[in-house]
Structures are given as structure tokens and as C-alpha cells.
Symmetry: D2
């Protein structure tokens, strides 16, 4: 039994740092790397790909609307063709750093407002899938189970990795609880870890009203920019280890075990 | 006997057009495509690659300092590592549009202030060559004969295409006459065309003081954004044809003959 | 009898020119000056304010969503508070060039997608009015008659200048005909000029279905970036002169008569 | 006896925070507020001006080269006229937030690479002074004692506030020790505080080689983005209080005493 843990990485910009990439990278199996449109810049992208390489973490692109001030969280009425070209551009930029570091690009996961739009708008989702396909047919698309993006990936002949959220509440309809409502975010590491195990082992998650929901994620997303992200991830990893569930990229790429403490000291 | 004609293309941005890409593309063999840092945007890049494809024109990247307001003509004290990562990013972005359109990326020619810096600063030139090599070892670097970039290309094991300028005056030391001095720019189509033929056929160009200078360009640059660019290019093409000098990319890529008038009418 | 003619000006960017500012400025009484978010840059803004000053044209700010690639035509789900701060920023930037040139800032007209949003969304309109009021209570807001922006201006105690469009078709409900439908844009200079005269003199415009609509504009907008803009403006000016309708800013600022031909030759 | 303490503020951007503005603001008398070119955005600027207002801290503009990725630390070969217009633009943007909050703009201090360039290049310094003068003749320029900017301010009839650095080493020639050399940065709060007192009370600072140097600063700069900034500032404030040296803006603006603890608790 195995599962992928994905996290948004490389979301700093110029002099600004965000998240705890150095601590998070050893704990995950897939990194969604920002491509300069909502966050990141060429230097940050290069360092992030190098860090992922060090731990054998699978590199994916995390393309966004062009909106640094809004961190890609504001929807823009861009045309599907504009979105397609924005995605190709960002994909290519990251691909070049992968080539430079001799690693493979494995997946694409839209960011923020583009993620939400791609989940519900089949026209946009279709253009995103077309963009990815036109660059590399072997890439995975990552998104919500049952989303427009999932359908578009299927239509384009792309592999799709459905994701679940470790620390978000679910409604009984299987949707995420809105961040404005109670139960939207879970922060107890033990609860979250147990939840992830149930998702993977039992294919089930408990909704806010207590209902059990069927779920079959290929990857579980953990938010890397929350203060407790590292603690949460460590708790998840420990629980998965107890259950003998391997943490491994859905693409099959193997993580490299974090350097032993002795080695870490030497750096 | 053959020569390559290169031109900067796709230098519009958003709603702004510049140059006459649709008229120029049928007349050249290599297009230096802007990558979004001094000019262009994802949509413009896609259209430019498609236009190059239509005429079999070899596509090259035209990376720049990140400076849209200054059109990449203002030097920035960026570190060599920052320049390297900026070049990788831009190269990759264009590469993705090439993949999407099924054409090959052939060369890299730095733009504006970066071109000038790469011509004289071996440290910067070395990082640019390293950037190009890390993405694709088969790419050509294009630059001034005898420049730091030429040396850096050699050092990195990259092919180099030395370029001459069709419409610029040369000093007796072989350098370009500064744009602030007399004789810097030539605009008589007949004179320019004759000059190009002499460069290619005889390996010689006449300096402003009348001296003959030896020159051996692999490619001749024509500025596509001057009002007379199309007239100039047509004159050059006619003279080359008379001399039976083939216009062909230094990479060996074959141009496709411009569609016949009948076909053009149908569009 | 008098009317104001307004036109979007200074919409170039860096090396890019757009519109025909030098030809249009002598023909209008109010210039809506781009502030760097959808178009323009500090140098272009300075030149545009200087050009307006030369002809005594009233200067107004033309703030936008932050979107250069999309020329401010793509709506963004920015919060009202974000929009307010974006407007304050752009207003201030233009105000400084007005101070530097010793001219007054007279009005504010939102651009593109922000114009459309401010016309229908009272919350956004209210924040825009609050932004303008907080910087200078004497400024006019310019927008559609009967729009949310008109109501917000009233609520904030700001003066409002309702605008009509010289070259756009109207439906019988008084709304503009969508650009995707027939009759949306008029381009016959004689027809357009006659239409403007009827709007001003008779308070009426004929809708696409022939109905006469009551209209009472304080200012008439002419699009400066269409090829025929100068011809259109000249035709409008001639007709207005025949009817002895003065072209004058709604703010009361007097135009300076264009320099005589003799003077023009000397430049 | 009195001195001004100035600090760069509002250098976050979008979702990114930097520095500890909320802790630093109560301790200083002048805030150099970033204007969106090297850091900050409209929302951050508004919040920063509001925070300065809360503590009666004098607001100044901190204009920069347009370079967010490089945080304004990379020199650009912009023309003096381009720099002038960039400064006017940034000044105006901040001025509008000051108007919106009913506070006065007091000074202008160039940032990063522009600060260094303005210190040594009289042509650039003259354009900056002209820019400031054209917007508001009553503004102070802040910079190095004896710099080109000081001369330019004098030439333009502007007031100038010479600044010293609390935590930087001085050479015996009165220049700052380069950050690449030993003794460039001091971090012991007691040492730094004592140093500031000597600067203000005795008009002297000890150079790295032990020489005493005469110095007469109107304002002392503390770097707000270093981890120990708050501790450093508190130590400086305590020592100044012991010496009965008042902390007050050079412009004469009075700070408001930080809200009492009781009030703070209520928030």
C-alpha cells in the first residue's frame, strides 16, 4: 500500500521567503513548484528543483494566473486561449530547470484561483489539458476527484492523480467545507494523521456531519505554508509508517531517504 | 554558397504590436523570439512560433534582462548566477511553445544590454553558455565574432554562429560604429544588399574610413523594427538570389517557400 | 451651449506607442491618462501631462486593474478594499506629474474592466468613490449615466460627469449595443458628428431600432485608438462649430487654441 | 538635544511580510515607506501609512529602481530623466495614501542601488532633487553627509537631513566599511546604543581603526529587517532616554506615545 504526499513549494519571491521548504521537502514525495506567475522567480525555481532532487521528490509545475500581488488567488476573466498559453509558458520555464538539474518533470497542478476555475469550468480545464499534452504527453494532471479537470485529462489522454486534503473538512457531498465555515481546517496533528490513514487504507473520510464518504486519492495535499506544516507532516509520516503505507510519488519516482543525522551535521 | 538571415521577432506585448513580423518572416531564415522579459507575452510567443513554423524559419530564443519598460536596453548589475537562471527560464518558456508546435529550438541570441554585456564580460558570457548547455547541448549561441560569448561557447562545447550586421557601419577595427556617430546606420537598400553580398561572397566589408575588413559571418542580422526593414530585406534577398547564394539557417533547417499568391488570397 | 470631448490618452508603454496622442490632443477638452496599471509608465505619463498642458486639455486619471498583458480588459476578483487602494495609488502617481507640470487634476474615469464593474457593482463603485474623495474632494468621477458609479459619486458628495459615446450604437433601453452585435460601432464621420450634435443640442440619440432616446451627457467619449479617430474628431469639431457649441471641459478648464500653422511649422 | 531615528518600512509585498513593522513603528520617528518599485503594493502602503499615523511617525518616500526580484539592489543604467520620472511616480503614489489618511509627507530617501548611485553621481542626484522639488518644495531629502545628493538638495533649495548608521562600521575616511569586510556590521545592542549616543551628544563616532571621526547626523538609520532590530532599537531608545535626548523627526513632527499596555491588551 502506498500514497503520495504533495505540497506547494518554492513560493518565495526575490528576497521574500515563505513556507519552510528545507524542512518540508524531506517529508513529501511530490513538490508543486511555483513558476513565477503567482510566486517564485528564476533563482528560487532553480534552488527549489535542486532541493527536490536532493530528496528524490517528484517535481511538478504549479502554474497560476499572472498575479503576484494577489498570489494567484484572484480569478481573472482570461480567455481559455490565454490560459492555455500562460500554462505552456510556465510549464516550459520549470521544465528547463528540470533539464538543467537532470530530473524529470512529473505533473502539473494548477494553483489557487486557476485550480478552482479548472475544477468547475470544462472549457478552461480542456485548454489546460491541451497545454500540458502539447508539451509532454506523459505528465500527470493533479486536481479534485470528479472535477472538470479530471474529465479534461481523460479527454486528452493524460493521466490524472485525484487529490484529497489532509487538513481540510469535507461536506457530506464530498466537497471541501468553505474556509468561511466551521470545520474547514483541521490542525490537530493526531487527528489529521489518522484521517490520512483512513483515506488511504480504508478509502473513507468522515464529513463534518459525521457521514462516512468514499474517497480514493492518489495523492494527499498538505499545505506547506501554515505554521504547523512540519509537525503535521511528521505526524502523518509516523502514522503511515506504522501502517506500513509507503510514501511514494504517483508517478513511481522513488524518494531518497533524508540524509542521516550524522550527514546533516556535517553540512 | 549560403547565408543565414536573422531578425528579432515577436517583440510585441499584450495589445502592442511592433515590427512587421508577418511581412518579415517570409524573408528570413532565423527568428530570434522574445521570451517575455524585455518584450512579448505567452500569447505573442505562441503566435510567433506558429508563424516561424509556417515558413520553416529556424526558431531561436532572445533572452533579456527583466526590464519591459526599458525594452531590455538598460544594463542591470545582476549577478552572473541571476543571469544564468533568467536565461534558463526564458529558454524553457520558448522551448515549450516549440514543443507545442512541433518545431525545434535552434539557437540563443541574447538581447540588447545583455547582448552587449555578454560580448565583453567573460564571466557573464560563461554563465549564459552554461545555462544554454544545461538545457540543450545542441543549441547554437549567436553573437559578435571575437566576443566573450564566442569564447564562452567554445569553452562550453557549444556551436557558435558569428553574426554581421547588414545595415550598420563598421570601424577599421572591425567594431560597429556607435549609433551616436556618423555612418552608424545605412539605409539605402541597394547599398545594404551589395554589402551583404560582399560579406558572404568575398568575406569582406568596407569600414567607414574605406578600409576593407575581413569578415566571415554565419548569419547576418537585419533589424526588423525599422520602417524600411521589409524593403531592405527584399533588396538583400534579390541580390543574394542573383549571386545564387542560398538563404538558409546555420543550423541546416530549410525554409519553406512563402505560400503562392493564390494561397495567400484564400486566407 | 457647450460640451466636453474626452479621450483615453497616454496608453503607450515603454517603447510601444498606441493611439495618436499628438494629433488627438489638440481636438479634445479632457484627457483620461493611463496610470501604469493597464498601460503607460512614468516617462509616458510625464510626456502626456505635458502634452495636455500645451493645449489646455483637462487631465483626468484613468485607473485600471493591474493587468498590462490584458490591457486592463480582464476582470479580476479583487476585493473592494484592494480596488480602492489600487485607485488611490494610480491617482497619486498621476497627481504628482500634474504638480510637477503645474496643472490641475480634474477627473477620474475607471478603465476597461474596472469601468464596467464600477458601472454595475455598487460596492466596488462605492470604494472607488471613497478612494477619489479621500485624495481630492473636488475631483469629478466620469462614467455611464445611471450607473452604480453615478450613485456612488452622489453618495460620496463627488461631482459626476455622465458620458455618452460618439461612435457606439445604443439599444432602446439606453444601453450600449454589445460589440458582438450589429450596429455596435459607427464609423462614418458625418453620421457620428451629426449624432454628437443631436445628443448635445437636442438631448437625444437614435437607438438601433430607430427609437429616440433621451440623453444628457456632460462629456462625449471618442475612442482615440481607432484608425479613424482623428478624422472622426475633426468632423465632430466642425459640426459643433457650425452649431456654435463650445468644446470645453465639464470642470470649466479652458482649452488653449492649437498653435497656428506657422508655429507648427517651426517645430 | 534631540535626534531622529529612521527605518525602512512597508517592505512586504502581496502575501509576503518582511521586517517587524508593528514592533518597530512605536520605536522610531521617521518611516521610509516603500512605494511599489522594489517592494510593497497599494494595500501594504496604505496599511503602513496608517500604522505610522497611529504613532505620529513622520512618513517619507523610499523610491527605488523598478526591480522587485532584486529588491532594488541592482543598479540599472536608466537615464537621469527616467530616474526623475520614476521618483515622481513613486512619490505621488505615496502622497495619495498620506492624503487619504490626513498625514503629511515629510521626506524622501532613495532606496538601495538608487541610494548609492545618488550618493556619487551628481547628474542623477540633481534629477532626484528636481523630481522632489517639482512635487513639493517643503520635502526633506535624506542621504549621506557629503554625498552628491546633499549637494543636489542644496542646489535645488531643498532641505537635507544627513544620516548616520547606528549599526554600521565607519572607515577613518568617514565612509561605511564595505559589507564584505570585517567590522561592517555591529550587532551588540549595548555597543550600538552607546555609539548612537556619542554620535548625537558628542558629534563623534569611532572608526574601525580606532580613529575618532566628526559626525553631525540629523537622523540615524536602523535597519528594520535584521532579526535583532527591535532589541537594538529598544536599547538605543533606553540610552537616549537616560541622556535626555529626545527622539523626534527632523521635520519637527511629534511622535505619539505608544498606547499604554492596557490599551494594547484590549486590541
Amino acid at each position: 500500500m502506498r500514497i503520495d504526499l504533495n505540497c506547494d513549494m518554492g513560493e518565495g519571491f526575490g528576497r521574500y521567503d515563505i513556507g519552510q521548504d528545507a524542512e518540508v521537502m524531506p517529508l513529501i514525495s511530490s513538490a508543486n513548484v511555483a513558476c513565477g506567475f503567482h510566486a517564485s522567480d528564476p533563482g528560487t525555481m532553480h534552488r527549489t528543483v535542486r532541493l527536490a532532487k536532493e530528496y528524490g521528490v517528484a517535481v511538478g509545475a504549479h502554474p497560476s494566473f499572472p498575479d503576484r500581488v494577489g498570489f494567484g488567488r484572484r480569478e481573472m476573466s482570461a480567455s481559455p486561449a490565454e490560459i492555455r498559453d500562460d500554462v505552456i509558458y510556465q510549464l516550459g520555464a520549470l521544465l528547463a530547470f528540470c533539464k538543467a538539474e537532470g530530473v524529470s518533470l512529473r505533473h502539473v497542478k494548477p494553483h489557487g484561483a486557476l485550480y478552482n476555475l479548472a475544477a468547475r469550468d470544462i472549457e478552461v480545464a480542456t485548454e489546460i489539458a491541451a497545454a500540458v499534452r502539447s508539451v509532454d504527453l506523459s505528465l500527470y494532471l493533479v486536481g479534485l476527484c470528479g472535477s472538470a479537470l479530471a474529465a479534461a485529462a481523460r479527454g486528452a489522454g493524460l493521466k490524472f492523480a485525484a487529490e484529497a486534503f489532509a487538513d481540510r473538512g469535507y461536506g457530506k457531498d464530498g466537497r471541501l467545507v468553505s474556509r468561511r465555515e466551521a470545520g474547514a481546517v483541521l490542525d490537530d496533528p493526531g487527528v489529521v494523521a489518522e484521517r490520512v490513514v483512513r483515506m488511504v487504507r480504508d478509502g473513507e473520510v468522515t464529513a463534518v456531519d459525521g457521514t462516512g464518504i468514499s474517497i480514493d486519492p492518489k495523492t494527499v495535499c498538505v499545505h506547506g505554508d501554515t505554521p504547523g506544516a512540519v509537525t503535521l507532516l511528521r505526524a502523518i509520516r509516523r502514522r503511515l509508517e506504522l501502517e506500513r503505507i509507503e510514501v511514494k510519488s504517483f508517478s513511481g519516482q522513488r524518494r531518497r531517504e533524508p540524509p542521516s543525522e550524522g550527514k546533516e551535521r556535517r553540512r
